[in-house]
Symmetry: C2
Subunit: 458 residues, 2 copies
């Protein structure tokens, strides 16, 4: 949303509206495909093919992959079979697969009909892997070299075939049976250009690879850990079947973070951008969780009902319920979100449970003591003296503050434990964030509060 983009979009829209197509063609040639795609996302369906035809062949596919899926669909409907064929066969396989996965069946049929046989085979190869697996992320367009090739021969291979490859910067050396033997970067090749060596002597045989069935979250973790530009994907026999490039992993990282945040805020994750989601779609993603959490709040209601008589006598106690519940909920969600993120980043695991509980327990005691003291001061000074609420007696203050201390400690320990338990049980730890913790902590804090109140005040 930089100023630069906005101005450019305006210029293009203006030239397009004024039908200055030849000027527009020259302008478009100087602009990055991703920026042009942003213009397409804002156009009427009937204008899409018109503007698209002004793009050069390379720019057209560069731009096409960056459009929103619904825009791609509308555009495809406006293109002839010949035009569609040109785009489809110009795409990288992983991009083609992404598009096929988003389109309705009739559009997919048209796309596959226009793909040439080699492309169609490769699309189908990638399509057979489950969503979110390494196989579904990979592309089959990589540079494979033989161990006995010299640097010059290898560069010659790259020179001849590289234009269709997703990356040429990391090349893979495979033996006769297709097994991954090593990796070699173009940097190493160029640096060894003057003393012409064989691949086997410059390649690194200790290749880190992922299995086609590995989860994309593991793939992203490995990319960050090793700072790779590309990662080889192998089958169960260690045969090289594809590569995953860093640009696709950045999308995965972003999607995973978004998904975690959505789940943490009690929503079913969606991969649609916000402004393109309809209210009914947002509704569908949100209402089941709201209903579930509302029904769970029945317990807190039951607890209050059980202590109704006590409350009728000491109505002042009611005034501190929200403060206790909120502070408990906030304390618990601090711990749960911290642990959920640490799990996502691969920093903690089930085996760290004792260390995590010990750390959170000590943090909780510190937080609880300070909060209880502050609360005591607030009750005795603000509520009793300044606001003159005579019902806030010393015993009431002591009840509220000790309930506060216990609630904060319990909330933090529950908050750090549940995500790890969820992980162990193969649930998504993010489910155990604020809303869920809040519901449990509400009930706990009320039980603690009324329990202490009963033994002290009645």
């Amino acid at each position: 949303m930089s100023d630069r983009t906005v101005t450019m979009e305006d210029t293009i829209s203006k030239l397009f509206a004024e039908k200055k197509f030849s000027v527009l063609k020259d302008v478009l040639a100087t602009i990055n495909g991703a920026d042009i795609a942003a213009v397409f996302n804002g156009l009427e369906p009937e204008s899409l093919p018109l503007l698209f035809r002004l793009l050069s062949k390379d720019k057209a596919s560069e731009c096409f992959v960056e459009m929103e899926p619904d825009v791609q669909e509308k555009l495809i409907k406006g293109l002839s079979d010949t035009e569609l064929r040109e785009i489809v066969n110009d795409l990288f396989v992983d991009d083609a697969v992404d598009i096929v996965e988003e389109m309705p069946a009739d559009v997919v049929k048209r796309i596959l009909a226009q793909a040439d046989p080699q492309m169609r085979r490769e699309i189908n190869e990638v399509l057979k892997y489950p969503e979110n697996s390494a196989g579904s992320l990979m592309t089959t367009e990589f540079v494979a070299l033989k161990p006995e090739m010299t640097v010059r021969q290898a560069l010659d291979v790259i020179c001849r075939t590289g234009v269709d490859k997703e990356t040429i910067y990391t090349c893979y050396v495979v033996d006769q049976s297709g097994k991954l033997a090593g990796h070699v970067s173009v940097k190493d090749m160029i640096l060894a250009l003057n003393d012409d060596l064989q691949m086997r002597s410059i390649m690194n045989p200790n290749v880190i690879s992922v299995n086609v069935h590995d989860d994309q979250e593991k793939v992203a973790e490995d990319f960050k850990k090793y700072n790779f530009l590309a990662m080889p994907v192998v089958d169960d026999e260690n045969r090289l079947v594809g590569i995953i490039t860093v640009d696709d992993v950045m999308d995965v990282m972003e999607d995973e973070a978004t998904e975690d945040m959505q789940i943490m805020a009690a929503m079913t994750p969606s991969d649609k951008t916000y402004l393109r989601s309809k209210p009914t779609e947002l509704f569908v993603h949100r209402i089941p969780w709201l209903l579930l959490l509302m029904v769970s709040a029945t317990f807190t209601g039951l607890i209050i009902t059980k202590f109704e008589d006590a409350l009728a006598v000491q109505v002042v106690l009611t005034a501190f319920i929200p403060m206790l519940m909120d502070t408990g909920g906030n304390s618990g969600s601090q711990s749960s979100v911290t642990v959920i993120r640490a799990i996502s980043l691969g920093e903690v695991d089930w085996k760290d449970l004792p260390a995590v509980v010990w750390k959170e327990g000590r943090t909780a005691i510190l937080c609880g003591l300070v909060l209880a003291l502050a609360c005591f001061a607030k009750l005795m000074v603000l509520d009793r003296l300044v606001l003159g609420n005579a019902d806030v007696t010393l015993s009431v203050a002591l009840v509220v503050c000790s309930a506060m201390l216990v609630t904060v400690i319990v909330a933090k320990v529950i908050g750090c434990t549940l995500p790890l338990v969820a992980k162990k049980l193969k649930f998504d730890p993010a489910v155990m964030a604020s809303p869920f913790i809040t519901t449990i902590v509400d009930a706990v804090s009320l039980l603690v509060y009324f329990g202490i109140a009963k033994s002290v005040l009645f």
Copy 2:
């Protein structure tokens, strides 16, 4: 935390404990530096230099940059000046800067004393830019080519100087005054190897660059948008001063997401990993927010106190306070987290406020109606019939359900508006997440609830 890593760490620790140093040396040579760093993170300070001396020169710096800052510090203290000099001068400038920024003054002094003059100058160059700016992320080790160079000359330059460059895959063409004239990838050079052209004819003159003072969040957005491997950084006169590589941007993306999540859960962000944070550090990051939110909950207390007499008559109303407040809080945080994430990803901006409110408003009406109906059914069937709570009359149920509807709508509209207002006022929108929204929504829901109750029941 894959099984592979764990086993490897165990093997290394075992060999090290048994002092089988020559076997260990061979084993270490086959392992990626990032994996070796994980072993260092678990060692006693006195063992660090011993194991470090078993690494080859390249592996040593590869491994050093991946260690946790406190481990780097302990290791440096155990190394001789000569050993330190070797590592420091082997680092990429951006990595050296990261390390210098994390170390205490005495260690920094030792590092800079050992850096050769060129390295020291470059470190100081990068250090002068503010934290989180593009300048502080960049490295000054890039390949700069001249427009009149031929492909062979350019590859020769890369061949001679490339080994010290952070990346050679994107090279930059600069004119005589140091201004950025174009970029050219090694792929383009290799593909043009057979017809030897000048840089000016194969370079792309439409370079997308960032300014040294741009925020790192903008840099990350541009990387994702354009799928770059490296981005040129220019000064105000468009002179090329450095490049940012994709591996550093992945770290930025991850840190920004972590920071957003921490702020959303009402914590001061920290860049220390969880298991390395002391309870006192966690406490310091959490307590100010808990105190602030606890004190804000005074308002809800005041509202309840004000309606105390009404509550004393109809104690049954108290039982539904937690359910109303929680459902309101959850509804509001769904909206706020969705909008906060959309702002972070650059999808929505202040100008989208009307569209966002309109979308959330309609979603809120749908959610509110369903929740109110479900709540009505729950009250009349579960609470009244099944649990036999005769206090739950039809009018009480109607009061609770209409309060629910209004609360959900208000919560969602507040939830989506506040992050955009924060953004407009140059605050971090993430501050406006669950805990903050919950505190406001609590007060609103009570006012609505008691307001409706008063007019219907009394």
